[in-house]
Symmetry: C2
Subunit: 513 residues, 2 copies
């Protein structure tokens, strides 16, 4: 039987050794910066109770959550299926009752006809009832939406934020607040897979709960700066906005529902000019008067300080808007004390991600070296744990888009060429005797913490050297009859091709030094 | 509305910061040893196609695999449900047909009675057919076992071995053989949760495919020795056996099916003596003649070399058995060249795990310092990838039982007390001014790669010091009015309670040095 080549589910991926080294490089770098800033790692289970996740991501999100079937006889225990079986039994019984009536019909006398008719009448009632039940059952009970609650009580993690909120509430008595945690784990979404969008992907989040200090916002900017700088990015922008500024703008023109329309239009100023933006805003239902009021917002430009000043003027009638300006300014002051090494920090009032939940700062990070969407984002949410009944705990957090960062580093050739994770030297041999001779060298190298391999005896030298090349092993040692006789082994730098004759001790020294 | 305290699904766990540091310590240690021996990391997706997993772990295993519901309208697309809906429609139609007949009955004349009866007869056929269909449907189609294939095409990884075999076959053209890979990822089993047994737990595997050299077996013994030694274990035993020896024993007494019974009985020799073992073997269906033949096997003792010699004698009539002895001896010779640092290596012919798939070496590791089952195991399987159509690739691998190792290290107090992963110093302050004063110190420390935190202004000093204690932060700096005036900050060793007045530079020097 010819078997089909096995595959992975669409939207999911295997990671090869080469990819894993690169992924570990990204994750390890980000984790080390999180730790430097006092963030502690936690992990939560892959599966959460469905009630923990459902309803937290909107109707569209609910549909994208992968549900796990209850184990065992999931169907037999479902009430819907029990009801269906009862219904089918009723149908069977009704049929049998009818069959009795039919056999009665075969022996019918004129006198029995009336009583038979009344039997029919009473049976008809049951029959109509069954028909109604069947129809209602098909339309309301026998649907995915209804049945799912009876056959699935667990689901795969959809993001790291909701499980974190659940964690905080569940473990509130063990936690010291402010609680600074980071979490690097995969999440799953039943999205339509496409280039760069996967059904399983890692999220890389840091959040702090229980502190409303804007120092936290400033530190997240520093974390982005340090981590992305460490990864070799040389030109990237950390955009910051504040939900309260957006609320302020909406307030002064009384158009809270159209704030997204507004930011989308303003964002096009560079491309289509003030006239274009005005035209678009009018098409989207804003009035000339509205536009006059927010013109300073549309034309916002200059340094962050200049932008803030214009905003304060435009929002002078909105207490909320001014509060937003204050918050942004405080963050800027922190950053002045702790200047950024690489990143550009930019106040961008068109930044409107996460308006459903963010209540203060909003962040987004973009690289200017490659065409790529945002490689990070986050913000503050004033009531993170309210959904699990713990009110009034404020939180702020950021996320790194690991897959996109991977693509950017690949495109810009920023991954380190040498990895300390891979084998540093391969000991090759012509035969069993060479293998035996190589064992003590192998042990000496490993004792000195050099990643080393001995190719098992029995393969041609070419195959062994190919193995070294394919695994990117930088050095090889070849042990043949001559080498054993002289005690001088052939040591080869695989990149340059240079060969030397070295003793065991010299090789160890070379590899350690 | 009072909300219920949220929880995780039974058999799954959250890992707190303290637990994560300990878990990372175990995983990082094992990974570093895997890498030192030339093993490369891969990762496979959490979800595999059901056909990849089902049928690979026996019927019991199949039941323990968590199945993921297809996303979207999973029920509506299932053929079983389509068939059911058709059936219910047929029932409805039959009922309607019957209703017409009944209204005919109300206007019945003697002449029409015959034609009515024949209508009944023809309808009865359809009705019987429906009843049959209903009954067969309920019994065969409307079952979990049947429906599951139509509503779930993906499942959660049950172990790391089958996904690895799938990986090797899928990527065979990109892989350089021998392929030495390690993999540290969670797996899921719908087992009944109990103490020490979880529904989600990490496996920690290394395997090599495409090399039949017994050097690999020897290196796995060295890996166990080095990794568990590094973790601080001082007394543990690596047991080794060979499937071919067990086959040889079965061969000489012609009892291949009873090999487990045999090993279980022999294992009790220390407790119940030769008479006890003999009695038990006879109860389990072995004859006196059998027992006479295998007496040297039952009484096997002495050094590994002595055991091997006795085995060779006992198995002299079994080619397979002698091959097993040769293999074990070769492994022992390798270990003589590369002596173990900590572990005891023991030939144990009662070791019979994985007999369904292992064809050569069998390993198991036990600590002698704590009461705990095996903390590791593995073996060789001659046809790892055959299940996916790639025949003749031999593999050998081992696994570390991370959860049990965690419990052992905890019990023996072997986790390092200080972790480089946690915050090293917390800067405390009395007010906003102190916070501002602390910012440059904070930045200097972080520039020198010291994990450092500044407590946001506005909290009492006691709260800040409690925070340091709860997070096990070893040093604190306190900045008040005096400190700002003199430039000498209060530096405190939290363990000893010793306080000093130090300048910013001195503090940085102290923390870096």
């Amino acid at each position: 039987m010819a078997s089909i080549k096995p595959s992975v589910p669409k939207g999911t991926r295997d990671f090869s050794p080469v990819e894993m080294v690169k992924r570990n490089y990204i994750f390890d770098t980000i984790k080390s910066v999180f730790r430097k800033y006092g963030y502690q790692q936690i992990e939560t289970p892959t599966m959460e109770n469905s009630e923990t996740l459902m309803g937290k991501y909107g109707d569209e999100g609910d549909k994208l959550i992968f549900k796990v079937l209850d184990s065992g006889e999931f169907l037999e225990k479902a009430n819907t299926i029990k009801a269906l079986k009862d219904l089918l039994k009723l149908v069977s019984e009704t049929f049998e009752q009818r069959q009795l009536q039919e056999s009665a019909l075969n022996q019918i006398s004129k006198e029995q006809l009336d009583s038979f008719k009344s039997m029919i009448d009473s049976a008809k009632f049951g029959q109509n009832e069954i028909e109604q039940k069947l129809s209602s059952f098909i339309n309301t009970s026998l649907t995915s939406k209804h049945l799912i609650k009876e056959i699935s009580e667990k689901a795969l993690r959809y993001d790291l934020t909701v499980p974190f909120a659940r964690y905080v509430v569940q473990h509130q008595n063990e936690i010291t607040f402010p609680f600074k945690r980071f979490q690097v784990q995969p999440v799953w979404r039943a999205d339509r897979p496409q280039r760069g969008r996967y059904r399983e992907f890692y999220q890389c989040d840091a959040d702090v709960v229980g502190s409303d200090s804007l120092l936290n916002e400033a530190e997240f900017i520093l974390i982005y700066d340090e981590a992305l700088g460490k990864l070799g990015l040389k030109d990237f922008t950390i955009k910051i906005n504040n939900r309260k500024i957006l609320s302020g703008i909406a307030q002064i023109i009384d158009k809270a529902d159209n704030i997204i329309d507004l930011t989308v239009a303003i964002d096009k100023l560079d491309k289509i000019g003030l006239d274009g933006v005005t035209k678009e805003l009018i098409e989207r239902g804003f009035t000339e008067a509205d536009i006059e009021k927010i013109k300073p917002v549309i034309l916002l430009q200059g340094t962050n300080a200049e932008k803030l000043q214009s905003l304060r003027q435009a929002l002078s009638q909105s207490e909320t808007g001014l509060k937003g300006c204050d918050e942004i300014e405080t963050v800027f002051k922190y950053i002045e004390s702790c200047p950024l090494q690489t990143a550009t920090l930019e106040l961008d009032i068109t930044l409107a991600r996460g308006l459903n939940y963010y209540t203060g700062a909003i962040f987004e990070v973009k690289t200017n070296e490659a065409a790529m969407g945002s490689i990070g984002g986050g913000g503050r949410y004033d009531d993170l744990t309210g959904m699990f009944g713990l009110k009034g705990l404020t939180g702020v957090g950021i996320s790194f888009g690991a897959d996109r960062i991977y693509d950017v580093l690949d495109e810009l050739n920023l991954f380190p060429t040498a990895s300390t994770q891979s084998t540093q030297v391969l000991i090759c041999n012509f035969d069993k005797e060479g293998e035996t001779y190589g064992l003590p060298l192998l042990q000496q190298l490993r004792r000195q913490n050099v990643n080393a391999e001995l190719y098992p005896a029995g393969a041609k030298i070419k195959k062994q050297l190919d193995y070294a090349n394919n695994k990117n092993i930088p050095y090889t040692v070849v042990i043949g009859g001559d080498e054993i006789e002289t005690g001088l082994l052939t040591f080869k730098d695989m990149a340059s091709g240079v060969q030397e004759k070295l003793s065991v001790d010299e090789i160890v020294k070379r590899m350690v030094g």
